[in-house]
């Protein structure tokens, strides 16, 4: 038990990333507010980045750092466009509840 607590290895970082990813998945499934869903997506992207950086450290390969940088840039673009869509949806419907966005349901 104390070995698990005191000896920090790669497994700790990977499990932490997996837990963060699962919390993000949980938020995406359970919550109905589009903003919370976007935040959960950001959490999942961060968890994936942490896994990448852990593997980079594990194998002494720096290209995962480049990959993470690109993931961060893509996440920023995704947040900007996603929030713009949320604002546009709110302007038309006065709420951002994804369960009520049923205009495309036939």
């Amino acid at each position: 038990m104390s070995a698990i607590v005191m000896d920090i290895g790669y497994g700790h970082f990977l499990v932490l990333a997996a837990v963060l990813f699962l919390i993000g998945v949980f938020g995406c499934i359970v919550r109905r507010n589009a903003l919370i869903i976007l935040m959960s997506v950001e959490l999942m992207l961060n968890a994936a980045n942490m896994t990448l950086l852990t593997f980079a450290r594990m194998w002494s390969d720096l290209s995962a750092h480049t990959f993470s940088l690109i993931v961060i840039a893509v996440a920023a673009a995704e947040a900007a466009v996603g929030l713009a869509i949320v604002v546009a949806v709110f302007r038309g419907r006065r709420n951002v509840d994804v369960d009520r966005l049923t205009a495309l349901r036939h």
Partner: protein, 322 residues
């Protein structure tokens, strides 16, 4: 790939003598493959020997790692020095590592084969040791911050509280990046996420300014069972994958410098990799960001005047908008 090759060579150089000693003694000495890295203790040794000139510095393993081969106890750092006023061929002082543990390094200074001075050096004392109680405490503190913030995001009804939880989570994640020696990525994480994206979210929440009616989806029994089963499957799948991850032997040792001689994870090292191997993705990202900016403005732009205009000349303009 060069870094990977160096890492593999270091692992092999650690493992090869141990493997050889386990078997029957071979007739010739097995030559362990070594990776020559720049001497990063050279500057410290030069400070130790004011008035000496360093002729050569050979180092086969990283200083943050073991400086004495664990199998043979042979020093892997050899420095030859001489006093500049003497003839270098006649007056040589050899600096050898006597013992090394983590960042603490004990070196012996020999003069014509006789040890006359032993001293201790602290190599790379600005870095925390990659193992030990300090690392453990920091890891658990920041991991709890990351997980607690993430739980805040998915449980809070108040959106501002959720965003603040997200910022706490991102700060914890940035600290975890630091522990993984990704200094540059940690700073970028703080700038982009805890700075820019947080401000974006807060702005949108202020614009919407509407409390959430029901935070959790009442999706019915079938939906709940399906969601629970899918999350359980994901947990099992992740656990299965994580159990089978195999770390290399030189696991938590401090990383070596890159092939270009830069420190691991710094702006220089990441920038060199980004602008050589990742140049095309970098350029593509700039186009993506431009498209995202234009798209965000186009989507979020108020359409009131346009709608009024459309209503006004709906009869004449129908064909153009179809």
């Amino acid at each position: 790939m060069k870094q990977l090759a160096i890492a593999i060579a270091i692992i092999l150089s650690c493992a090869a003598p141990r493997l050889a000693s386990a078997q029957v003694a071979p007739p010739e000495e097995p030559t362990a493959p070594t990776a020559h890295v720049p001497c990063d203790v050279e500057a410290k040794i030069a400070g130790l020997f004011a008035g000496y000139t360093i002729d050569s510095c050979e180092q086969t393993l990283r200083t943050n790692e073991v400086l004495t081969d664990p199998a043979t106890h042979e020093p892997v750092l050899n420095v030859t020095t001489h006093k500049p006023e003497h003839d270098p061929t006649h007056d040589q002082y050899n600096v050898r590592t006597h013992s090394a543990a983590g960042t603490r390094l004990e070196i012996q200074i020999e003069y014509t084969g006789k040890v006359f001075h032993t001293t201790k050096l602290l190599v790379h004392s600005d870095r925390i040791e990659s193992q030990g109680p300090g690392m453990a405490i920091l890891f658990w503190v920041f991991a709890m911050a990351a997980i607690g913030g993430a739980l805040f995001v998915v449980t809070r009804k108040n959106l501002i509280a959720a965003v603040m939880g997200m910022v706490g989570s991102f700060l914890g994640i940035a600290a975890i990046y630091m522990m993984l020696y990704a200094h540059f990525l940690a700073v970028v994480q703080m700038l982009v996420y805890a700075g820019a994206i947080m401000v974006l979210f807060v702005f949108v929440i202020m614009i919407l300014n509407r409390p959430e009616d029901e935070p959790v989806a009442p999706s019915g029994r079938a939906g709940q069972v399906l969601g629970g089963l899918s999350i359980l499957y994901l947990v099992g799948r992740l656990a299965f994958i994580l159990i089978h991850v195999k770390a290399p032997a030189a696991a938590m040792l401090a990383p070596a410098a890159t092939a270009d001689g830069h420190d691991w994870g710094t702006v220089k090292a990441v920038g060199t990799d980004l602008f050589t191997g990742g140049l095309f993705p970098f350029e593509a990202i700039s186009i993506l960001l431009l498209v995202a900016v234009v798209g965000a403005i186009a989507v979020a732009r108020p359409l009131v005047e346009k709608a009024e205009k459309d209503n006004k000349d709906a009869h004449t303009d129908l064909g153009g908008h179809a």
